[in-house]
């Protein structure tokens, strides 16, 4: 699916041959990469069709992974359940009612092994959406590969590992910001040294947008977070060009088509300029912003859910015309329940229609040069620069300190909540039409829906699996490896990854590791801003 596409001919449906790019100015693949990070973009390689999936036990999700790969998906993306995202085991009090519901339950390396059973980890690229306990899940992935005979340097994939946006938007934090950022930079340092094909952070605007921000805020907060990680990694002793080429990004694609395209183009240009001029990057790869896109879950409606297929297609097209490297398309039933298998397949097919039927892949940045799109790109950049200036001010010249300050004083959360409420009021007042919700409401038929349900039996099964692993493991090894994690945690200059990998090997659970780290790092409680 991703092979070079030169045999395609690059002609329109009517047979007209088309060039790779049109217009003047810096070409795609040239600094500042506004028009794309590659000269040929989708002519040489399509984006990765990476569908996010996870529910039930590891075995359940493994079956969905295989189905998606068989249907032509080209990468895996793992959704973990809430207890895993919060670093709690399935037998924790908080986990009751949540095991395997909104993602897959992973307690130990044994679950991770079942999750990827029968899938060649040396051949597939895997994305893991996990933040608070991200280094622990990466450690487990490394151990699964190792026990399956795949060296860690061959592993290809992405760990979300973006803690800033958790405090700002998604709220799946565990520890306070500073020790959490130490964990982020430990992963960056470890993968830079030992996992050259791994993206240690996916700096994510997606959740900021879903929480209600505007497009310009999504762009600005995300890139500010990216710069803050660069400053943190440099402060931890890494050279910019050692790690920056593997930083990746993750954006939302919402409904205002040209605003989205302008946002993606501006993101590349801002990153390139700042990395070169402010952070002194000299490797071109450090300046090239590569990103994953997901369509806007928040834009999906519960009434007339089939209409969401059209929304998703338009959002996906904006992502492609914006030059995304990988794409997840939402399932049309996501405002009703977790995505069903049929709905997930239609979402993947939507990408395939764009890739193979519409011809938009034949020309790089086909909207470049449009007066409106170029203006929108400039405008997005201008608005983002205003935010950077504000954060620099907050941080006395440091973006990293500015981001910490904006988290601690509730600035990000307040800005996002204001924007979300403004939008709701516009919809309520009828100033914005939402098809099927405040206009064109006839024709909804709830009886046609077949929704995915996760029953209580998942929780019971997972508790049994966990009990079996705990019984079979060597308690001395568990205690020894946990003690080393505790020792390394209080030594900020020690990278925690090796100790976490040892512990994962000894079948220590996610929750046990988080408990040890929480004892050393503390627990974050947010300042409530409504």
């Amino acid at each position: 699916m991703n092979e070079p596409r030169e045999n395609h001919g690059f002609r329109t449906l009517s047979g007209v041959p088309v060039d790779v790019v049109y217009g003047d100015g810096p070409e795609p693949g040239e600094f500042p990469y506004t028009r794309g990070v590659h000269a040929e973009m989708y002519r040489s390689r399509l984006w990765t069709m990476r569908m996010f999936a996870g529910f039930g036990t590891a075995t359940d999700t493994n079956a969905r992974f295989r189905e998606l790969l068989a249907a032509g998906g080209t990468g895996l993306s793992t959704a973990f359940d809430m207890p895993t995202l919060m670093g709690r085991d399935s037998d924790h009090d908080w986990a009751l009612g949540e095991v395997g519901r909104a993602g897959v339950a992973v307690d130990t390396v044994e679950d991770m092994a079942d999750l990827f059973a029968g899938i060649d980890l040396g051949a597939v690229s895997t994305s893991m959406t996990i933040n608070g306990p991200a280094p622990i899940l990466l450690a487990m992935y490394v151990v699964v590969a190792e026990e399956g005979g795949v060296d860690r340097e061959r592993l290809s994939g992405t760990l979300q590992n973006d803690i800033f946006k958790e405090y700002q938007a998604q709220k799946e934090y565990i520890f306070p910001p500073r020790p959490s950022v130490r964990l982020v930079t430990d992963v960056i340092g470890f993968t830079a040294a030992e996992m050259p094909r791994w993206n240690p952070v996916s700096v994510s605007g997606y959740h900021i947008r879903e929480a209600g921000s505007t497009a310009a805020q999504e762009l600005a907060f995300t890139l500010a977070n990216g710069f803050a990680y660069v400053e943190a990694a440099v402060a931890a002793g890494l050279a910019v060009d050692e790690f920056a080429p593997r930083l990746s990004f993750f954006f939302n694609s919402h409904l205002d088509f040209f605003e989205e395209v302008g946002k993606f183009r501006a993101a590349r240009r801002i990153w390139a300029r700042w990395m070169r001029d402010r952070y002194g990057a000299t490797d071109e790869r450090s300046m090239k912003l590569r990103f994953h896109t997901q369509t806007a879950g928040v834009s999906l409606t519960a009434p007339q859910p089939e209409v969401n297929i059209a929304r998703v297609a338009l959002q996906a097209l904006a992502g492609v015309l914006g030059g995304t490297q990988s794409l997840h398309t939402d399932s049309f039933d996501e405002a009703l329940a977790l995505p069903s298998e049929d709905a997930a397949r239609i979402a993947l097919r939507t990408q395939q229609v764009i890739a193979h039927e519409t011809g938009v892949t034949n020309v790089v940045d086909p909207l470049g040069g449009s007066a409106y799109v170029e203006w929108m790109t400039d405008e997005m950049e201008r608005r983002a620069e205003e935010v950077f200036a504000h954060l620099e001010d907050l941080g006395n010249g440091s973006l990293l300190e500015g981001v910490y300050a904006g988290i601690e004083n509730g600035w990000f959360v307040g800005e996002i909540a204001d924007a979300a409420y403004r939008y709701e009021r516009e919809v309520n007042a009828g100033e914005r039409i939402v098809v099927g919700v405040n206009a064109f409401t006839e024709g909804d038929d709830p009886s046609k829906r077949r929704l995915l349900r996760i029953g209580q039996e998942t929780e019971d099964l997972q508790l049994k699996r966990l009990a079996i692993v705990k019984q079979a493991r060597n308690d001395v090894a568990v205690a020894d490896t946990l003690a080393r994690v505790a020792d390394d945690a209080v030594e900020p200059s020690t990278n925690l990854m090796p100790a976490l990998i040892n512990a994962a090997r000894a079948r220590v659970t996610v929750g046990e590791l988080v408990d040890i780290l929480e004892a050393k790092f503390g627990t974050y409680v947010e300042r409530v801003v409504v």
Partner: protein, 144 residues
């Protein structure tokens, strides 16, 4: 917003309805609950916003301390069939006659189970300010 202004007028004939809003459980999606908090305030109610990672115990403490009329809990993680009834039972066990409204992604076919469990109202994505205010007022009026 015009209808909610009328609601404000009506509510002036009695003390404002007091609503405790909370995210019950681990789910961190709080956009909807924050919007609801502002809608209820604009509708003339008093909102006690507890925020994330609340338990039935912390919610009951707040209801008692704040003398709340309604509890609103939000979840987008498919946990409503477990957590909704548990919240109702916990309030009953504490001797509190305080109705529970659930917001979030709740499939239609789950509505009857939640009603049977004593949940007073369910608000899905896209509920308007008028619907949100009306649902909470109706819940408050349902108190025995």
């Amino acid at each position: 917003m015009s209808k909610s202004s009328e609601e404000v007028g009506r509510s002036q004939t009695r003390p404002p309805v007091r609503v405790v809003l909370a995210k019950l459980g681990l789910d961190g999606h709080d956009r909807g609950l924050k919007v609801v908090a502002r809608m209820l305030r604009d509708g003339g109610m008093e909102v006690i916003y507890l925020g994330l990672r609340q338990t039935t115990e912390t919610i009951i403490d707040a209801v008692e301390q704040e003398d709340a009329d309604v509890v609103g809990i939000s979840m987008l993680n498919a946990g409503h069939l477990t957590l909704g009834p548990r919240m109702v039972e916990a309030l009953v066990a504490a001797g509190l006659d305080v109705p529970v409204v659930i917001g979030g992604i709740v499939p239609d076919e789950d509505l009857s189970a939640l009603v049977d469990a004593g949940v007073a109202g369910v608000l899905g994505p896209g509920a308007s300010a008028d619907e949100v205010v009306a649902c909470v007022l109706a819940a408050a009026d349902s108190r025995g």
